[in-house]
C-alpha cells in the first residue's frame, strides 16, 4: 500500500511536467493545426541556456527567467522563419520541417555541449515530506513542480478567456479570415502563440531537468510523453492537456514500478494507440479536431 502511494505521488510529479509539455503542444495545435515535433528540441536548448547560467554560479531563479525569455524569442523566430512557409501546405510538410528542426537543434547542442548528461540543481529540497514517521516520495521540489504547472494553466486560461489578446488569438485560430476582416493581425497572433508555447516548454524543461539530467537527447522521451498527454486530452483543450499529463504520469509510474522502467516509452505508445482507437478525439476534444 505504501509502495502504491509512493508510485502515485511520483507519477503526479512527472505527470505535471508532461502536462506542461502537452500545454505547449496544445497552444500551437489550436492556432496553427501543427504538432510541433521540435518542442523537445526547443525546450532542450532553453534548458541548456539555463544550465549555462546555473553552472556559472547564477541563481536558479535568474536561470528560469532567462530560459523563459529565450523561449519566447526562439518560438517567435521559429514561427516566422520555418513554420510560415509550410503552414498552408499538407500536414506532412509541417511534420518533416519541425522534425528537421528537432535534430538540427540536437546537433547544435551536441556540438556546443557534447553528449555527456549534466546534472541540474532542483529549486527546493528533494528529501521527501514526513507523514508521521514515514517518509513520502514527495519532496518540496515536487510540490513546486505541481504548483507551477497548475498556476501556468490558470494563467493561460485567464489570458485566453479574459484578455483582449486572448480573444484575438482565439479568433485567429478558429476563423482566420473573419478575424483578418475585423482588423486582427492574424500572422502576429500566430507568432505570439508560438512564442507563448515555447516559453511554456522552457519552464517545463527547467522543471524536469533535475530528474532527467540535461543532454541533447535527454528530452526525446519527454516529447513523446507530452505528445501522448496532449492526445489523451484531445490536443485542443488546455485543461485536457493537464488532466492527460497527470493521468499518463501516474499510469507510467505504475508501469515503471511494477513492470520495469525500461518499457515506459513503449507503454506510453500502448496508451497512445489505445486512446486513439477507443476515442480518436481524445477525452476532452471535439470530433472535428482529429481530421487534419
Amino acid at each position: 500500500m505504501g509502495r502504491f502511494l509512493d508510485l502515485t505521488l511520483a507519477g503526479l510529479t512527472s505527470g505535471a511536467v508532461y502536462s506542461a509539455v502537452a500545454l505547449a503542444l496544445v497552444l500551437i495545435w489550436r492556432s496553427t493545426r501543427i504538432v510541433n515535433f521540435a518542442q523537445g528540441g526547443m525546450l532542450m536548448i532553453t534548458t541548456f541556456i539555463a544550465y549555462t547560467i546555473v553552472s556559472h554560479g547564477g541563481s536558479y531563479w535568474l536561470a528560469l527567467i532567462v530560459a523563459v525569455l529565450s523561449g519566447l524569442i526562439l518560438g517567435a523566430v521559429v514561427e516566422r522563419v520555418l513554420v510560415r512557409p509550410v503552414e498552408k501546405r499538407s500536414p506532412l510538410d509541417a511534420v518533416v520541417v519541425t522534425f528537421g528542426l528537432l535534430v538540427l537543434l540536437q546537433g547544435v547542442a551536441g556540438m556546443l555541449f557534447g553528449g555527456t548528461p549534466r546534472s541540474y540543481p532542483p529549486a527546493f529540497g528533494i528529501a521527501g515530506f514526513k507523514a508521521g514517521d514515514r517518509q513520502l516520495l514527495f519532496a518540496p521540489n515536487d510540490l513546486w513542480i505541481v504548483l507551477v504547472v497548475l498556476v501556468m494553466m490558470a494563467v493561460l486560461a485567464l489570458v485566453f478567456r479574459k484578455t483582449n489578446l486572448g480573444l484575438r488569438m482565439r479568433a485567429s485560430a478558429f476563423a482566420p479570415e473573419v478575424a483578418r476582416l475585423l482588423g486582427v493581425r492574424v500572422g502576429r497572433m500566430l507568432t505570439v502563440g508560438w512564442a507563448l508555447a515555447a516559453a511554456v516548454g522552457a519552464i517545463a524543461g527547467v522543471l524536469v531537468a533535475p530528474s532527467t539530467f540535461v543532454s541533447p537527447t535527454a528530452f526525446d522521451a519527454v516529447l513523446v510523453f507530452g505528445f501522448t498527454a496532449a492526445v489523451i486530452g484531445g490536443l485542443d483543450s488546455p485543461p485536457g492537456a493537464v488532466v492527460g499529463g497527470l493521468a499518463l504520469g501516474i499510469v507510467l509510474s505504475y508501469v515503471a514500478g511494477y513492470l520495469g522502467s525500461d518499457i515506459v516509452t513503449l507503454a506510453s505508445l500502448v496508451v497512445l494507440i489505445g486512446v486513439l482507437m477507443l476515442r480518436p478525439q481524445g477525452l476532452f476534444g471535439s470530433t472535428k479536431g482529429r481530421r487534419v
Binding site: 520555418l82 512557409p85 506532412l92 518533416v96 553528449g115 537527447t217 516529447l223 505528445f227 487534419v292
Partner: protein, 356 residues
C-alpha cells in the same frame, strides 16, 4: 491521326511495364557486378551499406510518397529485422535466403500491426505514434524479461557464413556482402516499381489524394493503408537483416532515433515517392558521415563537433528541401531530362518527320 500514332516509334521494352523493369533489373545486376569487382574492400562495404539503406528508404518513400502516411519510426522496423536475422542465425541453421525472408516476414507483420492503428490515425497523429515507436522499441532489448534473449544494451553478435568456396578461397567477404545487398536492392526496386504501377499503387495514390473519393470509387481505404504499411515495414525488415549481416551486430545503440531520421532524410532529399530518388538519397546519407569525419580529421576538429555534423546537416536538409525544393533531387533530374529532351531529342524527331 491513327497513321501518326502507328508511325510513332514504340521500342519493344516500352510496351510492357514488366518487360521494362526486368530489362532495367538485368542491367542493374550487370552494373552491380562490374562496380563491386572494381571496388576495394572498404568501398564494397560502403556499397553494401548504401544498398541496405536504399532498401529501407524505398519502402519508406512508397509509404509516404504514394499513400501519404508518414513514419518517423522506420528505424524500429529495421531494428526488428536485424534482431530477427541475428536470432535466426544464432538458434537455427537456416540458409541465408530463408533468414532474410524471416526478417521480411517479421518486419511486415509488425508493420501491418502498426498499420491497423495507422489506418485510423492521420498526419501528425501517425507521426507521433511512430515517433514513440522509434524512441521506445530499442529499450525493449534491455527489458529484464528479454535481456537474456536479446543481449541487453550490448546487443547480439551476428556470425554469418563466409563466401561460398566455389568463388575461390581468397574471395573478399566485403564483395560477397556487397553482392548480397546489391541483389536484394535490385529485387526490392523491381518489386516496388511493379507495385507502384499496379492496381494497388493506383489505389494508394487515390487514398493519398482524397480518401472520400477513393472510398466512393470502391477502394477499401483502410485495407490499402494497412497493406502499404506492411509492405513498407517488410522492406525495412529486409534492410535490418542485411544491416545485421554486414555489421555483424544487432544492438539497441544502432537503432536510435537518428537512424529513422536518416531514412526520412534520404527519402525527402531524393524526392518523396520516387524510387530512383530513394537510391540517390541513400547514397548521400550513407556517405555524408564518412565525408564529414574525413574532413574533420584533416581540419583537426574536436569529436563533439564532427560527430554532430551529420545531424545538423540532416536537419538542415529536411527543412530546406521541404520549404524550397519539395520535389527533391529526383524532380531536378526530371526537369533536366525534360530540358535535354526539348533541346536535343524533339528537334531531331521533327527533322526526321519533315524529311519523311
Amino acid at each position: 491521326m491513327t497513321a501518326l500514332a502507328a508511325a510513332a516509334p514504340v521500342r519493344f521494352w516500352q510496351r510492357s511495364t514488366l518487360v521494362r523493369h526486368l530489362t532495367l533489373s538485368v542491367l542493374g545486376l550487370i552494373v552491380l557486378y562490374f562496380v563491386t569487382t572494381s571496388l576495394d574492400s572498404f568501398a564494397n562495404l560502403q556499397f553494401a551499406q548504401i544498398c541496405y539503406t536504399a532498401i529501407a528508404t524505398a519502402g519508406l518513400t512508397v509509404l509516404s510518397g504514394l499513400s501519404g502516411q508518414i513514419s518517423l519510426g522506420h528505424g524500429a522496423f529495421v531494428a526488428v529485422g536485424a534482431y530477427t536475422t541475428a536470432l535466426l542465425l544464432e538458434h537455427l541453421d537456416w540458409p541465408l535466403v530463408l533468414v532474410l525472408l524471416g526478417s521480411v516476414v517479421v518486419g511486415g507483420a509488425l508493420g501491418s500491426l502498426v498499420g491497423v492503428a495507422a489506418a485510423r490515425l492521420r498526419g501528425p497523429y501517425l507521426a507521433g505514434a511512430t515517433l514513440a515507436l522509434a524512441v521506445g522499441l530499442p529499450s525493449l532489448a534491455d527489458y529484464h524479461g528479454l535481456r537474456d534473449l536479446l543481449g541487453g544494451a550490448n546487443g547480439l553478435i551476428v556470425t554469418s557464413d563466409p563466401p561460398p568456396l566455389s568463388l575461390g578461397e581468397t574471395f573478399p567477404l566485403e564483395r560477397w556482402q556487397a553482392w548480397i545487398c546489391g541483389l536484394c536492392l535490385v529485387v526490392t526496386l523491381f518489386l516496388l516499381a511493379n507495385l507502384t504501377r499496379s492496381r494497388i499503387g493506383r489505389d494508394m495514390r487515390l487514398v493519398r489524394e482524397d480518401e472520400q473519393a477513393a472510398a466512393l470509387s470502391g477502394v477499401h481505404v483502410a485495407r490499402t493503408q494497412i497493406v502499404t504499411f506492411g509492405i513498407s515495414a517488410a522492406f525495412a525488415g529486409l534492410a535490418g537483416g542485411l544491416f545485421a549481416i554486414v555489421n555483424s551486430l544487432a544492438a539497441p545503440g544502432a537503432f536510435t532515433l537518428s537512424l529513422s531520421l536518416s531514412l526520412l532524410t534520404a527519402a525527402v532529399l531524393g524526392g518523396l515517392g520516387s524510387l530512383a530518388g530513394a537510391v540517390y538519397g541513400a547514397v548521400i546519407v550513407t556517405l555524408l558521415p564518412n565525408w564529414t569525419a574525413d574532413l574533420a580529421q584533416q581540419a583537426d576538429l574536436p569529436r563533439a563537433i564532427y560527430a554532430n555534423i551529420p545531424l545538423v546537416l540532416y536537419g538542415l536538409v529536411l527543412i530546406v528541401v521541404i520549404i524550397a525544393f519539395p520535389g527533391g533531387i529526383q524532380s531536378g533530374v526530371r526537369k533536366l531530362g525534360a530540358l535535354l529532351q526539348a533541346r536535343f531529342v524533339r528537334p531531331l524527331q521533327t527533322r526526321q518527320e519533315t524529311r519523311r
